[in-house]
Amino acid sequence: MKTRIAKPIKRVIAPILLISCAPLAFSYAATTATASNSADNVSTNQQQVTSAKWGITFAAVNTDFTGSTGTFTSGGNPVVRTIPFVMTNVTTVDLAKWTMRTTTSNIGPNRDYQIKICTAAYTGVVCGGTETILQAASNTDVSNSNSVEAALPAGPTTYQGLIVVTKTNGATTGATSVTLRATVTNAIASTDLGAAATVSN
């Protein structure tokens, strides 16, 4: 069959025979269906999850608060001096308790101090909203004294604070300074946060 006619015939016939005898090797991918809560990656459709944060400060973030009464007059007892502050709660969940650390100076038998916060502004020493006494009147100087405080009144994240120092007797005129630090701790054994919740919503 080595002729001029045979060659083209072989070239045409052979591939046809090969194809006709080949096994069917094509396959069709199965159709799938998809559902998503964010098929278009629109953020509002995704399941947003934000974990809590916790903390309180009496001053700027990561800063202890320190305030002073200035010097007192020698007479005219009782003499009342106040130290205002602003307390901010950045905790995003319920707070069961927290710790205040206090350091004072020149507090004694003739001079006491009191620490309180208000959900609104103070007028003089009168709270215009709900008042919480963090430290009842005391005439004992303290240094880095920790006290566990109860939950804060609900509502604002910012509270107006007032330290009231009263010279009740004597002629000592030295200023009283107060330093405050707030600590919120989430510990497995005893957390300052509210109890863990199980909800369905």
């Binding site: 269906a33 559902a35 809560n37 964010s38 202890d64 600590t183 909800v199 919503n201």
Partner: protein
């Protein structure tokens, strides 16, 4: 002599081929004439043109819906709008975040919290399906995810997870309700399903979200056969017609102590104030081809 024989052989071979080709053409011509000849005969014809056989390819479509669909308070997996089938559009603009564990305003999750969410999946087309898989992605931080999805109890990651166990990460459990009444009492954790024992089929055992990211989870493995046959029903949308009635349980495990002074909340290596944007994608496959005679 040799050249003469070779030439003669070539001539005879060529001659045979030519003759064979001519004979083939003649035969083929005759065959053509015989098949195209005019034959006079009576013919009858019948067709179904008056009632043509209608055929239509089916549609395979999977729909994700919060459960229940009838209220604006059910939040499903965060999806805000479902349009097909006719599932009411949710209008609650707030509260899509996972949480609400401390009332309306605080929508954050603290260590130890557990939140349940419920969804239904429907086949809205006409084609049945088989199998169900789930993919989870955390699209937060440009798709990089967050500590909630990147960390688990044993992960050590200097920039995100910190020391071992510092950030436990979010955990997820998924259960299927196998009865037509579906999940009920969904606003009271953990919801209810049938007899609350054997009617509840675990499809994703409790695991860290980290293990589910960037992988495909076959929801038919823990309880084989649970999603073997998914029946299409595009006319209604309720528990009875859903092909999957899933309960999602999110848990943020208790975390090691983090004591924060003067609100100095850390921004790295912490479980605090982490945000994830979770994308859930479900896939099913059309049912096997069938041969019927009808």
């Amino acid at each position: 002599m040799w050249q003469f024989r070779r030439a003669n052989h070539r001539l005879s071979h060529t001659s045979f081929t030519v003759r064979f080709a001519i004979a083939s053409l003649v035969a083929l011509g005759g065959l053509t004439l015989s098949t195209t000849g005019v034959w006079t005969s009576l013919q009858a014809q019948s067709d179904n043109s008056g009632n043509p056989l209608s055929s239509q390819s089916g549609i395979l479509s999977l729909v994700l819906s919060p459960n229940p669909e009838s209220t604006t308070t059910s939040q499903g997996l965060g999806l805000a709008t479902v349009t097909s089938p006719a599932i009411p559009t949710q209008t609650a603009a707030t509260g899509w975040k996972l949480g609400n564990t401390d009332g309306v305003t605080n929508k954050t999750v603290k260590p130890g919290d557990t939140i349940y969410r419920f969804i239904n999946l429907y086949l809205s087309g006409a084609v049945n399906a088989t199998g169900l898989t789930m993919q989870v992605a955390d699209l937060a931080n440009g798709g990089a995810g967050s500590a909630l999805s990147l960390c688990n109890s044993s992960t050590v990651n200097g920039t995100v997870c910190g020391a071992t166990g510092l950030i436990p990460g979010l955990q997820l459990t998924v259960d299927q309700c196998s009865v037509a009444t579906g999940w009920t009492a969904v606003t009271t954790a953990p919801g209810s399903c049938g007899n609350n024992t054997t009617d509840i089929k675990a499809v994703v055992a409790t695991t860290y979200l980290k293990a589910l990211i960037a992988t495909t989870t076959d929801l038919n493995v823990l309880n084989p056969g649970t999603f073997a046959t998914l029946t299409s029903n595009s006319t209604t949308a309720d528990n009875s017609t859903a092909v999957a009635r899933l309960r999602f349980k999110f848990t943020l495990p208790l975390a090691p102590t983090q004591s924060i002074q003067n609100a100095n909340v850390p921004t790295t290596q912490t479980i605090q104030n982490q945000t994830s944007a979770l994308k859930f994608t479900f896939n099913t496959t059309q049912r096997s081809a069938i041969s019927v005679s009808s």
